[in-house]
Amino acid sequence: MQVLQAVHLQKFYRAQRKNVAAVQNVSLQISAGEVLAFLGPNGAGKTTTIKIIAGLIVPDAGQVKISGRDPHRDPKALRSIGAVLEGNRNVYWRLTPEENLEYFGVLRGLSQRVARQRSQILLERFDLQDKRRALTQTLSRGMQQKLAIAVALIHDPQLLLLDEPTLGLDVEATENVKRLVREIAAEGRAILLTTHQLDIAEDLSDRVAIINQGEIVVEEPTTDLIRQFSGTAYRIELEQPLDAERFHKLGSLATVVDQLQIHLPDPETLYSVLDILRPLPIVRIEKEQAKLTEIFLKLVREGSV
């Protein structure tokens, strides 16, 4: 089921007498339970797109539908959106987590009673029980971010927009947010996530869309994209250095030996190489995988020439 459908979004800004194309002809779809990583360099148009989707910026052209409703025309559409926006506090620092959750629950259209029930569930689930009566401003950065995500989920929206949710978080807090994102998607919500940490995108996303200078450069399932950019080469890692004889034999098979690593540019040679290596202990054999980071840099650089 398609939760988000954004078609041909377009946004120009006038800045210092120049028209800046912040977003050009951007179309995005996300289904229930799917995580879309929306990647791009600084100033590419990610935040602008997200805010257009949330109804916070009016596009020059294009249309947004969230579960069939247009957030720019029908305020009911906002009941299906939760958002944690970039570089913002998103919650009241002078209120406690519990008070924030209850307040925003009602603001998003819940009754007081339901808002209170949902707050308790979310406090528990996000591991904020101990801190529910502490002022938000006294919480750690990681907890504040968890609270912001919990608040975004208070009204049980089908679409969650996360603009750089791990910005400024330490390793453990980042892992926490990653785990939560996985769980939230598994509940059947659609998630749009931007991040500059591409390993996070690689780990979490079902699909990747890369935007550069306002235009989408590529949009594909993450595994397909990685497969496409991965070569056919193999890499073998050994436990101990090779003896001279095997080293010599491998040289004749067009492999490259680098201490404990053996590179096989031609996959045909894999079993011949293994025969030579027998019975040496092998740590791992793997097909060389492209990293999302390399793919990203390649696409973004290509796009800019």
Partner: protein, 258 residues
Amino acid sequence: MVMSLFLAELKRSWIQLVRYSSEVIGGMIGTTIIFYGLFLSARYIAGPAFQLGDRLDSIIVGYVLWTLMLFILGDIAGGLQQEARTGTLEQLFLSPYRAPTVFLMRTIASLLLNLAINLGILLLILLLTGSQLRFPPSLVFPLFTVLLGAYGISFAMGAMALILKQVQQLLGVFQFALLFLFTTPVETWTGTARTIGWLLPMAPGAGLLREVMARGAALNWMAWGLSLINGAVYFCVGIFLFQWATQTVKRQGKLGGY
């Protein structure tokens, strides 16, 4: 639906009031001291023959209305600016309630608290100056029209805050214009000036309040009708400007303060 929003806003205001009560009490004492300072210096300049009589009472009514106006203005215009800076503003616009509804509920909720605080300021001033104001029940009618105007003006300034983001200085200057507006006895003007008096925001309602509270006159219903129209017009214009400003800012992509 809207009722739950109102109650949630009431709770939020109450929590913040109690939690940061020192700020509130400080503000109350501050505004009282400023008035008392003005009062003392006026008496010093005028010498021992200082006799204001019902003029003093009129000035107190004007001054207390002014402080109420400043609360409402701070709530809407100041609140908008602050929330744009800290980054909660955009979350408010993600509500299925429309933005004016949210802000109206918010300020009506804190109005109850503000009225209580203002009553405190008023009592302090009465104690300090020995003024004898009257409190007939009919004062709620002109008070209502003043509030309508005050909300209208505050929403208009809120619109300005959304668009300009930096309204601190502007608000400062504007506050003095308002002080003038509330303490000028437009109800005693005649001729063309009288007509202008009817058109100024909140002035007709404030004039009626002075008559009722300071001079002990009965409420003139005819004049009240006019002040109601005055309040309603300013209120509608304010809401309209606010709506217009939100749309403009959403088009410029500057809601959160780019």
